[in-house]
């Protein structure tokens, strides 16, 4: 079965372009602000949207995304509201894939079956759950696949060749290569290392490989896009949202448009990378 994610990566590949994956946290700083930014993302060049499910204890995230989760929770974010954001987005966009990203506990607490049903109904395409390695596949990964969702696995520099087949076994949609040992938004990856890692992963799978963690500028995004099928930017966008908050923690007038301008520049970096290289 070809999913929205499969189609999107295939279409980008056919056009000779890398896929730009953007991350924002649902409900940061509030529901309406997220919805406005969300609706603008495809127009600003986002090919795939990762929507963060806020969690009190985001252990794999750096300061920018930690702060965005806290803002969202203070702003009243809940799992149901996150799913409602997807539903509202889908009313106007049936093409752009949405991947929910977060930690297992809020899903487990809601109940896996209940969550999967609600996610499929809302129009979610895939899941990235940081604290569910292949060893725990029966928890959510297998039920999610059966529900028709892609389960996108993280591969890391510590995932050696021996371990890769297990990591890739139940992965679909794309492989998310975490380019550094560390947390989101910290050190920036070395393009050479990334290229080597991506070809290593590609020896084990035909799935597209998107690379994230530590990509902050259009130039870095372009560099990564030479080596990989896609580039993921999260902390840098979330950091822009933080800059656009007023003293009450609300998005300033015109804030969403300015955040989307940054997204557009990053998107240009990703999309023009190979064009520029060919010239």
């Amino acid at each position: 079965m070809s999913t929205r994610l499969d189609k999107r990566f295939a279409a980008q590949h056919a056009e000779g372009r890398a896929t730009f994956v953007t991350f924002i946290t649902a409900g940061d700083p509030d529901f309406d602000a997220t919805l406005e930014i969300l609706k603008g993302l495809p127009g600003a060049g986002a090919d795939v949207i990762e929507l963060g499910m806020p969690f009190t204890d985001p252990m794999a995230d750096g300061p920018a995304i930690q702060a965005s989760s806290q803002r969202a929770l203070r702003g009243g974010a809940t799992m149901l509201k996150t799913l409602d954001l997807v539903r509202r987005f889908r009313e106007g966009d049936s093409e752009t894939p949405i991947v929910l990203m977060g930690y297992y506990n809020p899903i487990y607490h809601m109940g896996v079956e209940t969550f999967l049903h609600a996610a499929v109904t809302a129009g979610v395409d895939g899941l990235i759950v940081v604290d569910l390695p292949p060893e725990e596949d029966d928890e959510l990964c297998v039920p999610a696949m059966e529900a028709g969702l892609n389960f996108i696995r993280l591969a890391t520099p510590t995932t050696d060749d021996k371990r890769l087949p297990a990591v890739l076994a139940h992965t679909s949609g794309f492989v998310y290569y975490v380019s550094i040992n560390g947390i989101t938004g910290s050190a920036s990856p070395q393009a050479n290392d990334v290229a080597a890692a991506v070809s290593r992963i590609k020896r084990h799978t035909s799935l597209p490989v998107a690379v994230g963690f530590g990509i902050k500028t259009p130039e870095q995004a372009a560099e990564i896009s030479h080596a990989a099928d896609g580039a993921v930017v999260g902390s840098a966008i979330v950091g822009e949202i933080e800059k656009e908050l007023d003293e009450n923690g609300k998005l300033k007038a015109g804030g969403a448009a300015r955040v989307l301008d940054i997204v557009r520049r990053l998107a240009d970096g990703v999309h023009q990378a190979r064009v520029a290289a060919a010239e």
Binding site: P58, D131, L154, T158
Partner: protein, 408 residues
């Protein structure tokens, strides 16, 4: 029943399974970056467990560095005061560094050395585990970074200075509420960043498999000694065991060797803070529900949306919204009873023990004693009760003075 009685065909002591689970609890809920590391740790621990040299090294340090075995002390005046059960205190507060935490740190630092790790990190709440970790890092000349919530640093200043004297770097954690759970998040973030050289020395029977198992095994010396000492003193096993529970390492250490001894009643005491009904407590079993945090599934304090709630306890060492997964399992199968004591009850027990026995307990075991004071009067005089005195109270005197309205 004797010590040598055959163990059950269905033992309570065989867990975890090969996925690191105790029933549905435990497991390995970690980011992929850490997964290869905890598999390495599991392999290293399995090898060490079967190596007599490893056990000999531990034994040597127990005897000459920690000062084990710790005494099993008959608390005659507390016994008289309560007028019922015969109260014994397992004196783990007499260990070097003043608590049971050193038992685990000795085991893990030896493991870290076997694995060739050159840098030690740890989280700490009250600072007891941080001090114990800084101590063994000093002993073996390894650099040590301790993550500690900013709130806890404020209320446990003497331990912060102690860690610095021991050469550790203490990193204040301001994210979240600045307490133990946030310190654990930050330690995990460090580990994921420094995978090559760093050993994460977890202080309690929680975290991803194999931590709950190896910490339990290193702490089980408490229960093994208690068994032998009680046989020598009284010629039989105790009738009941009582220990306080935050993450639950001192309790698991005392309980585990006795789990298959049917006649032994086992009681864990959680921190009820201002009272379970107020919602301001750290009793994950009494007031929480199953969830996944810090690498394992266990009972957690959480809201309707699966967001983790802050614990509250007068004792920084019990102030954690989770509990070790083996405790969660023992509760669900009914082998161990879990009860709670409030801040106020712990403060009373703290003073009582100081005045009657000349032992200033840490606020953590003061919770256990508070519960002992409730049940002991109604128990027969030949009932043998062992309470784990898992830490001494020097670290708490400033906090207690403040609660009692005394200006130092």
């Amino acid at each position: 029943m004797t010590v040598n009685a055959p163990s059950h065909p269905n033992s309570y002591r065989t867990g975890p399974d090969d996925r690191g689970r105790f029933g549905i609890f435990g497991g390995r809920f970690v980011a992929e970056t850490l997964m290869p590391l905890i598999l390495d740790l599991e392999a290293a621990y399995d090898a060490a467990k079967n190596d007599p040299d490893f056990h000999a090294e531990i034994q040597d340090l127990h005897t000459h560095y920690i000062g084990r075995p710790s005494p099993l002390y008959y608390a005659e005046r507390l016994t008289k005061k309560f007028g019922g059960a015969k109260i014994y205190l397992k004196r783990d507060e007499l260990n070097h560094t003043g608590s049971h935490k050193i038992n685990n740190c000795i085991g893990q630092i030896l493991l870290a050395r076997r694995m060739g790790k050159t840098r030690i990190i740890a989280e700490t709440g009250a600072g007891q585990h941080g001090v114990a970790t800084a101590t063994v890092a000093a002993l073996f000349g390894l650099p040590c970074v301790v993550y500690m919530g900013a709130t806890d640093i404020e209320r446990q200043k003497p331990n912060v200075f102690r860690m610095k004297l021991l050469g550790a770097e203490v990193v204040p954690v301001t994210s979240g509420s600045g307490t133990l759970k946030d310190a654990m998040n930050e330690a995990l973030r460090d580990w994921v960043t420094n995978v090559d050289n760093t050993y994460y020395l977890i202080g309690t029977v929680a975290g991803p498999h194999p931590y709950p198992t190896l910490v339990r095994d290193f702490q089980s010396v408490i229960g093994r000694e208690t068994k032998e000492q009680m046989m020598t003193r009284e010629g039989r096993l105790p009738d009941s065991l009582v220990a306080c529970i935050g993450g639950g390492s001192n309790a698991m250490g005392l309980f585990h060797p006795f789990l298959d001894d049917d006649g032994v009643r086992i009681i864990g005491v959680e921190a009820a803070g201002h009272g379970i009904e107020t919602g301001e407590h750290s009793a994950s079993l009494a007031g929480g529900s199953p969830g996944v945090l810090h690498g394992n599934r266990t009972y957690l304090l959480q809201d309707d949306d699966g967001q983790i709630l802050e614990g509250h306890s007068i004792s920084a060492g019990l102030d954690y919204p989770g509990i070790g997964p083996e405790h969660a399992w023992l509760r669900d199968i009914g082998r161990v009873e879990y009860v709670s004591a409030t801040d106020k009850e712990a403060l009373e027990a703290f003073q009582l023990c100081s005045k009657l026995e000349g032992i200033i307990p840490a606020l953590e075991p003061a919770h256990a004693l508070a519960y002992v004071s409730k049940i002991a009067p109604d128990l027969p005089k030949d009932h043998l009760l062992v309470m784990n005195m898992c830490g001494r109270g020097d670290k708490d005197v400033f906090a207690v003075a403040e609660h009692l309205g005394v200006k130092l």
